[in-house]
Amino acid sequence: MHDLIPITPLGRTTAQIDRFKGLQISECPDWALASLAARRNREGDTATAAEKFLGIPLPDVATCATAGAFTAFWTGPQQWMIEAPHDRHEDLAAQLKAAVGDAASITEQTDGWCRFDLQGERCHDVLERLCNADTRVMAQGQVTRTRLEHLGCFLICRTKNSHFSVIGPRSSAGSLYHALTVAATSVV
């Protein structure tokens, strides 16, 4: 086992958490990500193999599905992102590849992204200052990609009205975090 110490997207060894009245913004570094893209004419095989691995069918357009450790969300035509706890699934890509074989292309995405969770009743008020997604009508399990502070981010509704994940490019975690906290300060 190697002894290299990982750092979070914000460059620390522990995750950042900020609390505002009615809102908590937390950096969530402990997730592994891998993209799954069905190969041409292998869409069926991919779906079957993925369902077997995940325990749920691959989610439909602009939605996500969660079962046990795994969450899968749609990212494009015949393309998904799979999310799992980092401690038990650090090598998620390899595990997925083993499961789908040559039916799909798998790419490790874990450290391509940073994730910030917004929790509390003021979610909407902060998000409406940052992106054009109509979060008030987003149901649990809805996913959209949106432009937030010039950055292309995934926005996942984990719990309607109270819990959203913003998944953005890791190298800009600092700017993303700054935007979130400045907007929160401006609102609450």
Binding site: R40, S105, D111, N132
Partner: protein, 988 residues
């Protein structure tokens, strides 16, 4: 400072008399009450003179009571927060407010620039196009500076704006623009129906005109009805009521921009809060209930302080409980003017007379009525003292009054219906333009904005239009039980200007455009409405002609013998009212202008005195300064020597990485690269040159084949996004059936170049024991997925940008920081150094590798010396057009190297190359230097560049000229490969 009393304050009004607040205007202190605007408070204190006009510097008082105000513009607040050209009519009073008059010298009461007024005959419309031409040089030196200094209105502080601004996005079924009777009725109907509604009004209370009137709505006053309606609307979760919010623009597909003035009414913006917010509103439907704006009548000296719009005079009396003077008169061509007289009488103001242009003027107010009469002239130096009236029988009369309310009718506020080039249509009944059919898609209109002036009509049409809009969205909105309200027509008889005067009658009071100017424009054939505007500047002031344009049009129509609709209107453009640039700027300020991208080794670099350089949004270490190094060159030279002499490590994560997979992956790369990739062996990497379809070089990089159906492609840092987009285009639009999947992995992997003779020895200590990186086991251009540091997954590539024995190693980004430090540790015995982009650049120049400045979008494979790489035996993007004549000239530019003949001289990038003995001019230009650096390895300045027929000119001495600095240097043309041309080192 003396304090004036509020002598002109009347009874009643929507102000809070329980609190008195202090403010100053031009240094003098005054008192007002919450609910006041700056203009209402100044009027209360007997101040009529509030500004000076643009051109003639004539004394100006307040004309209106709203955002259409052209005259009462002040510099609000002080220091860095000074806001020039702020309308006193919309500036809410707060304790400690400071305002200064503007565009006067030295003071408002005595303005030296008013001399211009004496010379008005010389300063007619467009006079400046006819003079100031001799001698030519005097324009910049003499005339223009004087004109510029005299022109302009208020001044900017030129200090950084200390306030913050924010932006946001809102969504709704129905956006209602304006919260007067029509807007409130609409919101009520839509709100009760459960539709998501946004109701926005620029004012700080809802009710619109109801706040300025005395008549009843149902069993209560208009104000009470508005308040009750608001109470219900605010209780509905599906209705968002926004005061101090102006809808400023209507953009495509139902997107509106709105400005919310969050803290302009406060003494200071609270810390962390925005001064204003720019909202982008995504509406399914929108309803314009913006009301109408009153228009004046032009007559001689109609611009004196105290002369204002009759409806505004009424608003000041009813809402703010002030009058501009103890004695007032009214000049009108419709019934509405009479209401002002009636309301002011009721407030105990002496109304001297109502002068009505109509012979059949009705008697509405209990004061003297002068039918079939006109105001011909006025007197009063800094404010109105007398009006001169011509009666129906031709007799003249002077009437003493300090204020005159003028009503020439009302113009529906069609602005928003024209932002997408919709044209308003003429409505003869009210002699005004109303919204046309070809308006803004998804936007309907109700109330006065549509020409329905009565309160009853506003309520009715607001409710009906809301229901109609929702019907489009399949939302059924039950009818409302609307209250009774006044429903009288204004009985307007069109009357635009008083004839027969010798003096000047103002149309555009801010820009000083008079009836005479319009006549002159017509005389000189500036007759199209746009020519009229541009030649006379009519309607180009800060109010964009809201009160002045119609008068100008009417006069031009008369002169041209056309009807007003034939003359037409100028184009209404956003914003509806002026918007601070800061508001459009939002949070993008200073360092937050654009997001910053940090490399995995950022923390390490900061700790080790790196200087950083912006590469796109990336911050990259440029060099690492060590103790004792004063000049950056010392650091860079040291880093280069260390790499060439032993080993160094450089963060190259910023290069784009694209994962290319699928059974057709190889075939796909064959299409996008000019050179072949089909036969690349697994475990091998190859340099690839990508062309645009026009045959020019687009980008270059490497592609590593990790398995039969899996490649990892690298791009230059600058082109990463563009190349990815291009690949998706090729994949989806050109070869849709190829089995290939793409995804960017740029940030997922921290990638470091480990370069130098000792790089292998160093890496030996990093890679796990089972990984064979001997020259045999892992030769030049090899790639492999391996493990390092006891099991961490990693990727190893044997590629070299520096020309040394070199590797690039990649680990998951979260371990990048630790890995960089581990490499430094492991390399201590070899005196490993971290090196930055400068040293990287020096070494690639020494090696003759092309980079951004060579791949400049105008270079071909041929120019880059890679002509032979473009395969003619396969189809690839750009191969066909790269064969055009112009891209294959025999004397084409070729990438070569340059060395100064005198090694103490410097090669400058951007310098141009001249053949010895030819004139130094563009005609004889032989090429240019693209990159230059001091080469520690050669101990000389060197450069790369494009030279005509360069391949055949090695050894030639050229003049490298830099006219910008006057430096001319003799340089020798040499091979671009200054160091290790055979490449023995990188294969060692």
């Amino acid at each position: 400072m003396i304090r004036a009393a509020q002598d002109n304050r009347l009874a009643g009004g929507a102000i809070d008399r329980s609190r008195t607040i202090r403010f100053t205007f031009d240094g003098k202190s005054y008192a007002g009450h919450p609910g006041d605007t700056l203009s209402s408070a100044l009027l209360a204190n007997g101040v009529r003179l509030m500004g000076r006009s643009f051109k003639y510097h004539r004394p100006r008082g307040v004309l209106s009571a709203g955002s259409e105000e052209p005259n009462a513009l002040v510099e609000l607040r002080s220091g860095a927060r000074q806001e020039p050209n702020t309308r006193a009519t919309t500036a809410e009073l707060f304790d400690g407010l400071v305002a200064k008059s503007q565009n006067r010298l030295p003071s408002l009461k005595f303005d030296a620039m008013a001399i211009n007024d004496r010379f008005s005959n010389f300063l007619t419309a467009g006079f400046y196009y006819k003079t100031f031409m001799w001698p030519a040089a005097f324009w910049e030196k003499l005339y223009e500076p004087i004109i510029r200094k005299a022109a302009g209105l208020g001044s900017l502080s030129l200090q950084d704006d200390p306030d913050g601004y924010d932006k946001g996005f809102l969504h709704c079924d129905l956006l209602i623009i304006g919260g007067g009777p029509a807007g409130l009725a609409a919101a009520l109907r839509a709100g009760r129906a459960g539709a998501s509604v946004i109701l926005a009004d620029e004012d700080y209370i809802f009710g619109g005109r109801l706040n300025a009137e005395t008549f009843a709505v149902g069993m209560q006053t208009g104000q009470a009805w508005a308040a009750a309606t608001m109470a219900e609307l605010q209780s509905l979760p599906n209705v968002r009521c926004m005061t101090r919010t102006t809808i400023v623009g209507a953009f495509d597909h139902g997107i509106y921009s709105a400005v919310e003035r969050v803290s302009d009414h406060l003494a200071v913006t609270p810390a962390g809060k925005p001064r204003q917010i720019l909202w982008r509103i995504y509406s399914k439907r929108a309803l314009l209930c913006a009301g109408a704006i009153e228009r004046p009548i032009a007559f001689e000296n109609n611009d004196r302080p105290g002369i204002m719009l009759a409806g505004s005079m009424r608003a000041y009396a009813n809402r703010w409980a002030v009058t501009a003077a103890k004695r007032v008169a009214i000049f009108t061509n419709n019934d509405d003017g009479h209401r002002t007289a009636a309301d002011l009488l009721a407030k105990g103001v002496k109304v001297m007379a109502v002068i009505d242009t109509r012979a059949d003027a009705p008697r509405i107010a209990d004061c003297e009525l002068l039918p079939d009469a006109q105001v011909t002239d006025t007197t009063g130096r800094l404010g109105l003292s007398y009006i001169h009236v011509r009666l129906g029988d031709g007799s003249e009369r002077n009437i003493e009054c300090g204020a005159l309310g003028v009503s020439g009718g009302w113009n529906p506020n069609v602005h928003m219906t024209c932002h997408q080039r919709g044209r308003p249509v003429w409505n003869a009944e009210i002699a005004a333009f109303v919204p046309g059919e070809s308006g803004t898609p998804g936007l309907t209109v109700a109330g006065a904005a549509n020409g329905d002036f009565s309160t009853a009509a506003a309520l009715r049409t607001g409710s009906d239009q809301a229901a109609a809009a929702l019907r489009d969205l399949d939302i059924d909105a039950p009818a409302l039980d609307l209250p009774q309200a006044e429903d009288a027509p204004i009985n307007l008889q069109p009357f635009w200007y008083v004839q027969g005067g010798k003096g000047r009658a103002w149309l555009d009071q801010q820009n000083d455009v008079t009836v005479k100017d319009v006549t002159l424009a017509h005389q000189e054939n500036f007759r199209s409405v746009e020519h009229l505007k541009r030649y006379t500047t009519l309607g180009m002031a800060t109010d964009q002609g809201k009160t002045s344009n119609m008068g100008g049009l009417a006069i031009m129509a008369e002169l041209a013998g056309k009807s007003i609709p034939e003359v037409g209107t100028t184009m209404f453009r956003p914003p509806y009212t002026p918007v601070p640039i800061g508001t459009f700027g939002g949070r993008a300020r200073g360092k937050n202008f654009h997001p910053t991208r940090e490399t995995p080794s950022h923390r390490f670099s900061v700790e080790h005195n790196a200087s950083f350089v912006e590469v796109g949004n990336w911050l990259r270490a440029q060099w690492f300064t060590q103790p004792g190094e004063v000049h950056w060159r010392e650091s860079v030279d040291r880093e280069v020597r260390a790499v060439r002499g032993s080993v160094g490590v450089c963060d190259v994560t910023t290069l784009g990485k694209i994962d290319v997979q699928g059974t057709d992956a190889a075939g796909f790369l064959n299409k996008v690269y000019a050179n072949g990739f089909a036969k690349l062996a697994v475990g091998k990497t190859r340099y690839g040159l990508m062309l645009r379809e026009d045959g020019m070089a687009m980008d270059d990089g490497t592609a590593a084949r990790l398995s039969e159906d899996h490649f990892v492609m690298t791009t230059t840092t600058a082109n990463a996004v563009g190349v990815y987009r291009h690949l998706e285009f090729v994949r989806q639009c050109l070869f849709p059936d190829m089995d290939v999947q793409l995804i960017s992995t740029t940030e997922a992997w921290a990638q470091y170049a480990v370069a130098g003779p000792n790089s292998r020895k160093l890496l030996q200590k990093i890679v796990d024991p089972d990984v064979d990186i001997t020259n045999e086991g892992f030769e030049f251009m090899a790639c492999r997925e391996i493990t390092v540091c006891g099991g961490l997954r990693a990727r190893l590539f044997r590629i070299s940008f520096s020309g040394e024995l070199a590797y690039e190693i990649a680990v998951p980004t979260r371990y990048g920081d630790a890995m960089f430090r581990r490499i430094m540790e492991a390399g201590r015995e070899f005196d490993v150094v971290p090196y930055g982009t400068e040293a990287l650049g020096v070494m690639r120049i020494e090696k003759g590798h092309a980079a951004g400045s060579e791949l400049n979008g105008t270079s071909t494979a041929l120019n880059l010396g890679m002509g032979r790489m473009v395969s003619r035996t396969k189809d690839s993007i750009g191969s066909t057009l790269s064969q055009r004549e112009g891209l294959n000239k025999p004397d084409a530019l070729m990438l070569v190297g340059f060395k100064p003949v005198d090694s103490t001289h410097k090669v400058t990038a951007g310098g141009h190359l001249m053949t010895k003995g030819t004139p130094v001019d563009a005609k004889h230009d032989q090429g240019y230097v693209t990159s230059a650096a001091f080469s520690p390895s050669l101990n000389s300045s060197i450069g790369l560049g494009f030279l005509r027929d360069g391949g055949n000119r090695f050894g030639e001495i050229l003049t490298l000229t830099t006219p910008l600095t006057g430096a001319d240097v003799d340089v020798e043309v040499v091979s671009a490969h200054f160091v290790d041309p055979k490449g023995d080192r990188l294969r060692a």
